[in-house]
Symmetry: D2
Subunit: 427 residues, 4 copies
């Protein structure tokens, strides 16, 4: 077995480069989503959108301002009001194609948002040199989600072309807002993967070079992202400091206690407050404070311990300073262990690709991925799930101004995907 995918080579490159020029932040990907919907419908897919694929009650880190800017940009890009209405304000979509033959349901997931990084204009940076760099200041596909989408559409195209040889049903998820691990929770809560027998997700590059395929990565850190705000009462710091309720005091004292949450005997923990802004004027008792923070744990249980401890500290410090507080969950990812059956599928799929080295050894992913939330939802409903990494050389780190991928990896990746799908949905 090796599925033939050479027909999709040009499409892979062309679409990746096109999407690279118009990066959109999480929850604002209206132009991008419109493009994806169009392609999926062109390939003959039933396409689900809006609240059918995103449960609004479980949306994390979704700013109305960003959403509105995304809609505005989409209008400027000629996206029709009809399509915008269909999206109901929520980005992302799911394409469904049934082979008409009994068989398992396979959900595959690709993420679509960009990173707030200013892309390099240097001639040595290929997107700049070849003219497909970002046209949007401060935004860039610097994590490879452009490649993910282009791969997803090629998979969709290939599957539509080859469904006669296969059985069961394919669901292609284009998930918004992966950065900050925000989008998967709402998509999972929509129930869209609850009927899936199998789930596959992948990332390009990371810890694998061109020519490598990691079929059993580990180290998906459980994490919860929180925005914490304290509200006190202002007062003139000279005349009547006692009349204030110092929100900065609540925040700073919470900060020092948060860093001091006791280590866990059973595994790794992390806690960080990455941003803190507090106060109004130099001579006013500060009445507002906002902390952007995160906790992590080696397991879901340990992450929960960190989260619970953090909440307790925040409550206590608000009480101590007579302030109100609000905790908003901004993102979430869990850990994942690939199901052995799918590890085996991926191994076969990779071994069938000439020149590809299959890495079965546990390679450390060393980050958080909210595909894990969808994967665990499938597992919770009795399905099997796996996440793999398609190697790609890159001149610079993820999330940096000179990030780029070796485009040859697109062909390799597509072959692995189509081989794996062929194995799972074979007649």
């Amino acid at each position: 077995m090796t599925t033939c995918t050479c027909a999709y080579h040009d499409q892979l490159i062309e679409i990746r480069r096109k999407l690279h020029t118009f990066p959109e932040e999480g929850w604002s990907e209206f132009t991008t989503t419109a493009f994806l919907i169009g392609k999926l419908r062109e390939y003959g897919y039933e396409v689900l959108t809006g609240t059918k694929v995103i449960n609004p009650e479980n949306c994390l880190g979704r700013s109305q301002k960003v959403v509105e800017a995304g809609i505005e940009a989409a209008r400027k890009n000629g996206v029709s009001e009809e399509l915008l209405n269909e999206m109901e304000g929520y980005t992302g979509c799911v394409g469904v194609l049934d082979t008409g033959r009994p068989g398992p349901t396979l959900a595959v997931r690709f993420d679509i948002d960009c990173v707030p990084v200013e892309e390099s204009k240097d001639e040595s940076h290929i997107p700049a040199k070849e003219g497909f760099a970002s046209t949007r200041p401060g935004l860039m596909h610097a994590c490879g989600h452009d490649a993910h989408m282009s791969t997803g559409l090629a998979v969709a195209h290939w599957f539509a072309d080859n469904k006669g040889e296969l059985c069961g049903k394919l669901k292609i998820l284009f998930q918004p807002a992966e950065e900050g691990v925000r989008g998967a929770a709402g998509m999972a809560a929509s129930g869209i993967v609850d009927d899936a027998d199998y789930f596959l997700g992948a990332h390009i590059a990371m810890m694998c070079k061109s020519g490598e395929l990691s079929v059993n990565p580990y180290g998906f850190l459980c994490t919860t992202k929180l925005d914490v705000s304290f509200t006190g009462r202002p007062a003139h710091a000279g005349v009547e400091p006692n009349a204030g309720r110092n929100a900065m005091a609540a925040a700073c004292n919470a900060f020092v206690q948060l860093l001091g949450i006791a280590r866990h005997g059973s595994g790794m923990t992390r806690v960080n407050v990455g941003q803190l802004t507090a106060g109004e004027g130099r001579n006013v008792i500060p009445s507002h404070a906002l902390m952007k923070m995160e906790v992590r744990g080696e397991t879901g249980e340990i992450n929960q311990y960190m989260y619970d401890s953090a909440v307790q500290i925040i409550q206590g410090c608000a009480l101590a300073q007579g302030c109100e507080y609000k905790i908003e969950k901004m993102g979430e990812a869990v850990d994942l262990t690939n199901d052995p059956e799918l590890v085996d599928v991926l191994k076969q799929a990779g071994q069938a690709v000439e020149g590809l080295t299959v890495r079965e050894d546990p390679m450390n992913f060393g980050g958080s991925e909210d595909a894990t939330i969808l994967a665990r939802r499938v597992q919770a409903h009795g399905g099997k799930a796996a996440f793999f990494v398609i190697g790609a050389d890159r001149p610079s780190g993820h999330h940096t101004a000179r990030f780029d991928i070796d485009e040859k990896a697109l062909d390799t990746g597509l072959k692995v995907w189509t081989n794996a799908i062929s194995l799972i949905l074979k007649k």
Copy 2:
């Protein structure tokens, strides 16, 4: 007018010296109280004791261990079981003598406890040289309460001898546990001064030299003394630190916030944690912490603000660290403004004493005194109250090992007292 008091000179010296040899800490003054009761009865007073003069529910800073040691010492000193039973475990007493003639009720107050100071054995220290130094290691009448008691008994004696010339009723309060401002609250709560039309209290020495009488001191700081304990849960600090609830963390975080209670726009504030002990072993998450602290305010309202802020911080820090907390009020004093009518009485009483300079100007007492609690109770019931200071040279500061008073001040003080009583209860 000058009342004749020369008959009581020997008694003043003798009793002061006798009491000086056997100092007793607050709430343990059983031997001392037995002596006072005996004298008052000898002079013909009705003497009230135990819960008739101390409301147990309002006792502050009373340690059962100290009480028991005091009872034990009293037994060794030959105090009868009958008298101990009468005291019901509470020290202090009140002598009442009615002239049989209609007239006002006057309450006068003298305090009876000592200070935990080791008395100097140096030959230059008169009590050592003359053989009446403390016989109890680590305890000493280093604040002049021995002189207060001796004066109180002489006042009692004089009043019994002269009641035919006077009207109304005299109540002589011997109050325990003034150090740490602990005893007055329980005595006030017994209701013993609720029928008093006038209240007088005095201190010897302080900011006045021999030959001076301050009739309108100010600067009685409002203060509340608190013992705060946190209880958490121990855990092995290496194996399972997450299983602990860190009481030291609650205490240390409370400490830093307590010091940071916002200054008050309307007046002076103070806060101090004077002692902190926490933890069990080096490798155990600490499960106990105890803080001995105090707050102060220029007025009762400001002191209350400090107290309320402290309580809120303690609650919040306990919550933040998942600990229990207990706050125990260990002492309390309030501010006082002398009633002008009594300032005038004291002025006349002082001016009648040859060689005595009456200081009407506001002299800063600069400390806390729980006589203020009794005084304010009398004022709250419609009576009038004043506190005065009888000057006395002293070789060393209050509460130091070489503290002593110029005994000539005893005569002067007695004259002021008897003059004042004569003016208030004159037929």
Copy 3:
């Protein structure tokens, strides 16, 4: 004596209203300064500018960005390049006029900057109704410095007209950047008042109503304004938190200790951190933190104690967290006691104005004023100094959107000024 000033009534109103329409922030008052220079030269004054009146080394809270915007605005307003060159980038100016007759040198000071407040557009707000409201969004003469300048120019005009009747020399200081108590330090350090025998400054309104003159206000709070920055080292909060140096930790721990600086036994203290911004991204160990803070003390000595304690805490917390720190002084004001000789002059000057009530009692200014820095500089060189308050009804508080002054107070104020100058520089 009452000096005749009716000739300047129209000028007072007209100039005040003109300046009110074009408020400029501290250190950006180039258009305003150009206007003042023009008028002073018109009246025959020698005018000193730029580094002759501002010592660049002692400039506090001067942002290059604000300066450049001010220069840009001045160009748009037609200020010549020649004049801008003369200013050397520093706003403010000093007019000097010598009577030619021997006599004392008198320095008088008027401040020129505005407040970042959006002026009310309500019809009930006279500047809005009468058409002289601010034309600059977010900026407003909401503290009366427009009235100060108009008074200063009228004083200048009157003195030029009447110098034949007077002796000595007048120096009229138009000081920039009083808000945030920033401008006086640089002006004092230029040495411009070092030869002054007398110094006078005044504020309009504050705690005095129309018809009142306060000649001996007290309660000029000593204060120091500081910007404190910490610089650490970023690191990925998940992968390698130990590699970071947490600047937010330095700031938050400094914050909690700053609030806890021990109260001072000799007088009032204050400390506030009014703004804190720290950190870069949610999952990055924060490498930058900035605190805008202030300390205050009842006396210069107490303020120094607060400042020294703050610096020590900042140093210690930077060290504890392995960070660098920078402390920048952004503003400063000291306390002031008016010299009795000048209090007497002001009293006479006020009493000579019909219908004016002279308040000799100590009225609480209750704020900070950097005129005190100039005044104390004069005193330090052997001269005498005073600051007074010219009452004026106002519909709303200083620094609020509806602040305005009763313009009748301009005439009254001018009379007090000219009377006082006549007394000091009389032939």
Copy 4:
């Protein structure tokens, strides 16, 4: 091979029980050491003592008061002045016996101190029932060091009896003060093991049951124990709080920052302040604070990171509060990886004992042991080292009042020891 050891059974039990009755704390084991010296000399060993086996400069956690009490107790127990002189104030000793035949030098180590635990008097507790419980209130051999010593003496006896069959040299180290990981550093620094080709140490019980032998345990936590004291300046908290230097503030702020030392990306960390005492009186700014703390790390490098971070925080907090500080190292242990050659020796030694299960799998020791310091010293000089665990059932946990060991394990352990020595020093 199984070496015959039945001749030593009675000795094993008798000596263990004898030593159990007289437990001595670390650095006070003079009576115990005198007994050990006596026995070793009886068996024909050269015995080194005092500064020949302990380098005073590297003694950790050695309190002069405890040392003196131990000497006093030894005198009461009839230890001669001559022997006490020989010990030079340092407990522990080393017996050396040379076979006279060329061969390797083997150092074996047994620890000798007790734990501050009150032994159970319950009849179900065998030492109580059989009459060999501790005779010293508050002290108990509750970690099995009595068994270690009895085993060490039996090994010594056996080796002396069998040296004709062996080659090389045996050094038997009786190390003081293992509790708190204090004694090994000084013994290592004496150079006593620098010539050892092999080093063996063992612990009884822990994670192994009777009938088990763990030959390759892991998880020896690197740790450093510190006593940290801060010294400030006292001041009256009401009158002049600003005059104080608050040592409690230094300690509490250090505490909150210590708990917040950033987690390490490469492995486990721990930090605990187990005891904190600070302050003098309720109304005095605290001038003294003492923290008993520890840090741990998964590797020596990580432990060093924790230590360095702690020192930096302590320095910074002392500076911030104007206090002095002192850091005293009270104990230290490192990690250890057994040399494979000795793991193999131990495996053979165990397999030769009938009924004993040899556990080669990595079992988690889960604690700190300062034998690691001696072991690493040997490895650093080119030798090989290993630590093993001799299983023993126990009714209760180590360091508890009912701790006891299954005495049958003494025989088993001795067999393993003698077998291992036979393999290493075989002719």
